[in-house]
Symmetry: C2
Subunit: 481 residues, 2 copies
């Protein structure tokens, strides 16, 4: 209480001071200065936060212009449908039919063609189904006299229960989740609506025509105006993930064996770190891959993809890639081991490890190329053979490692003839782990190759013309055609 | 063509046969038999498929009764709102106000309280915001004479663009995704609707009151009728995942070191396999954890959780657990190595490995207990100390391993004094990998313990009364109260 009074007093004094000494340019008292400082601080915080948020928001669009295009398309579709109905007010207020067209556009328009198609189809089919069922139930209810309300209530309960339950069945949910919602909605509206049946047919016709207008505007804009295909996105995602895995693998192993040799500047360091962490994208892309594969099957033929393109195979490829990524995650821990690995051990394994990792990453890059060109690879067998012989070589290196067995350090001849210090298993362990993970990773890459080969067979990838894979990279045949 | 004709002929003959010889019990000719067989086959396939589907569908409900409860609740809410409006037909057909109440229930009702709350709030706030904005734009449009249609079209385009873009900003999407959709919808409807402004206020009032009825029915039913809390589900998920990790870890290491000792029957084998694969659930629960944490913060205090319970900490715990799961994924590969590990190596490491794995899994189980009781653990420090000394012991075992260094096998004394065959690094490698993964896993478990400790501090878990942890298991204080 006392300090508050003092504060007030001080404030009054400082104001008095300000007004009596210099009326136009008041000298700021301490409280005023505090106020100004606080104001400045708050403004600074707000401005900083806002600008940070804006920068982040800007980056989202800059990183993926497809998102901006999608927003433009939504705006366009909505303006079109709004203007259409604004110019032809054939409806009775907001509750009328225009509403259904606008609502259809808002709810159905998704960022890729597959999702939009799936929602349109779901909406139309569910509306028709639920509409006819609703009319039937409504007719039964009106015939049943006093039990009317119970018939309505019970049927709404029953169908709402069944439709909601069906949304928990994974195979149903993947395709018809939206349809189930629309089914419940339409069924309730129709069966509850106090219409006579003869009026219902009129209404149904109107409703269907507005929904048809909404869906056709959506489909036309989504397909003919910079289409974004779920299939293409999935294909690209898998391709990019191959490159990321290859980068991470190369980066990890190189970093490990050359840690202290090269001094890099900060920028390069950050870039390397980004590359090393690439496998994390692969770890986290399961959900995206699955939903994209689900949506892609709704899409018509586009670019290099037929209508019956084996999209589910991408999910299998993704799973195989994730298994490689688990290996890389554990590989990356080898780099942070506390135990100092003797240089000698690194030297002993370095060459063979680098050879294996580069052979492995070459395969991953070739797989990315295969995806990019949608062609079978002519040199894959050769690359796999290379990798397997690198594995064999690494195994040989393992066998020839000079390890001491609990004895004081001594000089033992290694297989190259020169004399090196032998190492204890404890010291070699991190390298040994790295080696065994690399070998396991090679095996997992091989299963990935098999999965991609299966895709190539299922989707009838063309045979690669000889010695073209190198040039193809420069040409980059358009996927989004 | 020929065979088709022959088929027809045969069919006709068999019919003739049937009708002339025995009129009432026709002898079935070969084609008839084929037809019957085909019919039986088709029926069998359909019945089998249907019954399989039904069994699967039944299992979903049996495994998680909360889902069935949710369906019942949806049915109840919809019947209530339907009957309410059926009995008081104060609306003008299906397009009227009843629609908004029914639509609110259908779209807003989610399986847990947090999601329902979040959608209700989003819906109400977005409707009010967009409604006022829409009225303003509509007024501007009507004032601007001939430019009216351009004002409407452009404003719809602009706001639809902005709202759609905002849905790509992750921090916004996590909370206000549904609000953005409702915003676009309401804004378009209001600004396009050809109303005079004086009529709009009336309409707005009606609309808001119907939405209020819909949301309050949803909220009342979701909170007071077997509530399913996102927070509790998240808490339980994390707790269950700890147990799964512990089971997997125990299972893997035991399986590895006792592979050939025990002969199990098939049932047990399947159960063991389920346990071994438990870590896969942890690998896949990232998305669920994040969305649950997002929803849980909308929920009021319930059970042992305050309103400001640190739900985001669960995401951190989940991430730490996933890092353990990556280790286990790689651990499980050690079991499928081609290289036959000499029994001697298994024997050498077995004891220490089993000790470490059981110390690690004890910690995981204690963490699960901590979560279950929402109490701090009194013996965690002790368990961590145990684990660390097990790690130390394993390291010692590593140092004392008798490894041959590229020389013919010979007998070397190990630290226990008895003489064993020495092994090559190549032979020891799988075990060495297992060992190093176990050690790494211990480090990751420690970071998990830290994360849970942080949660315990943030959420003010009570101190564990001494020596109670054992009994608590039996008591199982109710979480869903």
């Amino acid at each position: 209480m006392g300090s508050k009074e003092a504060g007030k007093l001080e404030w009054r004094i400082s104001v008095d001071n300000g007004t009596t000494t210099e009326r136009l340019v008041p000298k700021s008292g301490p409280s005023e200065r505090i106020f100004l400082w606080l104001k400045g601080l708050v403004m600074k915080v707000i401005v900083e936060r806002l600008s940070k948020f804006m920068r982040k928001t800007w980056r989202i669009g800059a990183d993926d212009p497809a998102k901006v295009v999608h927003c433009l398309k939504v705006g366009l579709a909505l303006s079109l449908v709004s203007i259409f109905y604004y110019m032809r007010p054939l409806y009775d207020g907001v509750g009328g039919n225009a509403m259904w067209a606008i609502m259809t556009v808002v709810v159905v328009f998704e960022s890729n063609v597959g999702a939009t198609f799936s929602k349109c189809l779901n909406r139309v089919v569910a509306t028709i189904l639920a509409g006819s069922l609703g009319i039937a139930v409504h007719w039964v209810a009106t015939q049943s006299g006093k039990a009317e309300i119970f018939v309505i209530g019970f049927s709404v309960f029953l169908f709402a229960f069944a439709a909601t339950y069906s949304r928990f069945v994974p195979s149903f949910k993947a395709r018809f989740d939206y349809g189930a919602i629309i089914f419940i909605l339409t069924f309730s509206l129709v069966s509850v609506g106090g219409y006579r049946v003869d009026k219902l047919v009129d209404m149904a016709q109107q409703r269907l025509s507005t929904i048809a207008i909404g869906t056709s505007i959506c489909i036309i804009i989504t397909v003919f105006f910079c289409p974004i295909w779920a299939g293409t996105q999935l294909h690209r995602l898998v391709q990019r993930n191959f490159v990321k895995l290859a980068d991470s693998l190369d980066g990890c192993v190189e970093e490990y064996f050359k840690k202290k040799d090269v001094l890099k500047n900060e920028n390069e360091d950050e870039e390397t770190n980004m590359k090393l962490q690439g496998f994390k994208c692969v770890l986290n892309s399961k959900g995206t891959e699955e939903s994209m594969a689900n949506l892609a099957r709704w899409e018509p033929a586009h670019g290099s993809f037929n209508f019956r393109h084996p999209w589910q195979q991408y999910v299998k490829i993704g799973a195989a890639m994730r298994r490689c990524a688990y290996c890389l995650e554990n590989l990356s821990i080898c780099m942070s081991y506390e135990t100092e690995v003797p240089d000698q051990a690194k030297k002993h394994f370095g060459e063979a490890c680098l050879k294996l990792s580069s052979a492995s990453s070459k395969i991953l890059r070739e797989l990315a190329d295969m995806m990019n060109n949608t062609r079978k690879s002519s040199k894959m067998d050769f690359l796999v053979f290379d990798m397997n012989s690198a594995v064999q070589e690494l195994r040989e290196t393992l066998k020839s490692v000079p390890v001491e067995s609990n004895k004081p350090k001594e000089e033992v001849p290694n297989n190259k003839g020169d004399r090196t210090m032998s190492m204890s298993l404890h010291e070699v362990l991190p390298v040994a782990t790295l080696v065994s993970l690399l070998i396991e990773n090679a095996a997992r890459i091989q299963t990935t190759v098999e999965a991609v080969d299966e895709l190539a067979n299922l989707a009838d990838f063309k045979q690669d013309s000889k010695k073209k894979t190198g040039d193809n990279k420069a040409k980059q045949p358009p996927l989004n055609s």
